[in-house]
């Protein structure tokens, strides 16, 4: 059994242990004294260099493991290969498009797509990419030119560090349809009717996405501040946006006017 050094959260503290890695389980020695059987893993997520593993038996137990990337890669590969998840062999390209621009030299990787509770993992011999379910913006069955032929693929649009990236999955059409249905079902909570925003609201949303601030949006769409505020409220209430900055508009008091008048005088004298 191979041993790897990690820190694991135990009773709200990080403790250093040497995990024993077997074919079907990880052995966590004292003071934790547990075994993580891969088949019982219901979810796996990664935040920075912390691996969050949810094991479901009669109860649910969450393990947080902190280690260097190389060790986490080994753990992820083993767990994703055997955990309790929807899994299929496929070609994937992640990301294929980033921020509206196709990623140069993006290539198809041969590997598997593993769908767990909190995310969609793309795993190959050299890559482990996770798209959290909450970051999935759209899933679409579409066509892409693959080796000169228009081929059915699934496109998954997702947020990655604030910008929309698209990943592509390629496999036989029948499997693709099953995966598409499964992914649509997994991300159902994010679905909307599509008529929640009117034309102007949609333009505002697109301008926000493009990086325009409130002032630029007001000028571009020629709408007053109050109307923009109402549209922002609508976008916020629908959960389509979040407040980043609250900007204030002020006017000068008599004291303020006197101050700048004096300042102007002293500059011109």
């Amino acid at each position: 059994m191979t041993e790897v050094p990690v820190k694991i959260q135990h009773n709200n503290e990080w403790v250093v242990v040497k995990l024993g890695i077997g074919d079907d389980r990880i052995t966590v020695p004292a003071p934790v004294n547990k075994e993580i059987i891969f088949k019982t893993v219901a979810d796996i997520a990664e935040k920075k260099n912390i691996l969050i593993i949810t094991v479901k038996t009669d109860t649910e137990t969450v393990y947080r493991i902190l280690s260097v990337e190389k060790v986490l890669q080994v753990l992820k590969k083993l767990i994703l290969g055997s955990c309790n998840a929807y899994r299929l062999m496929a070609y994937f390209m992640s990301p294929a498009i980033r921020g509206g621009v196709m990623v140069k030299d993006a290539q198809w990787d041969k590997g598997s797509v593993v769908v767990v509770r909190s995310g969609i993992w793309f795993v190959s011999a050299v890559k482990q990419v996770c798209v959290p379910v909450n970051d999935v913006a759209a899933i679409e069955l579409t066509k892409r030119d693959v080796q000169g032929k228009p081929t059915d693929v699934i496109r998954i649009d997702h947020l990655d560090s604030g910008e929309v990236s698209s990943s592509l999955v390629l496999c036989p059409l029948s499997t693709l349809q099953v995966l598409y249905n499964y992914l649509k079902d997994t991300t159902k909570s994010m679905d909307m009717k599509g008529n929640e925003l009117d034309a102007v609201d949609q333009q505002v949303a697109m301008l926000v996405y493009s990086g325009m601030d409130s002032h630029a949006i007001e000028n571009m769409l020629n709408i007053p501040h109050k109307q923009l505020d109402t549209i922002y409220d609508k976008i916020l209430n629908l959960g389509l946006g979040e407040v980043v900055t609250i900007r204030r508009e002020i006017q000068l008091t008599t004291k303020g006017v006197r101050y700048i008048s004096d300042a102007t005088k002293s500059q011109t004298n």
């Binding site: 509206g100 621009v101 030119d145 496109r155 649009d157 697109m206 990086g211 571009m220």
Partner: protein
């Protein structure tokens, strides 16, 4: 920094691109609302770069691209298209487009692509 011609049939997209490119220090020398107007404006204004929508009335972006490249093989044209029309992008690249941006886009990515094409 370059002199740029924006060809797009929607005022909203033209205004958005104008804002983004202007904020990046570029000069917008002209705008056109369809492919035909785009060709005419290109001949008149001789811009350093054109952003060209693909789906447009009268003459689409691919046909306009071909016509511009025929009259000026050195023309730098960046295609601008919606998600799901990436097949058209391939055709555009074959026809001589230097780059592409996919709507919806983010300002930094647009500026990066324009910078790359202007440097090519």
């Amino acid at each position: 920094m370059g002199k740029i011609l924006i060809v797009d049939d929607t005022l909203f997209m033209r205004t958005l691109l104008k804002n983004i490119l202007f904020s990046g220090g570029h000069t917008i020398v002209g705008e056109a609302g369809d492919g035909e107007e785009g060709i005419a404006k290109y001949k008149e204004l001789k811009p350093d770069l054109v952003t060209m929508d693909i789906v447009m009335p009268k003459l689409n972006g691919i046909e306009a691209l071909k016509a511009i490249k025929e009259s000026d093989p050195a023309a730098r044209i960046v295609m601008c298209t919606a998600v799901g029309q990436e097949q058209m992008v391939k055709l555009a690249i074959k026809s001589g487009a230097k780059g592409y941006i996919i709507k919806p886009f983010q300002a930094p990515k647009v500026l990066e692509e324009v910078k790359n094409v202007l440097a090519s």
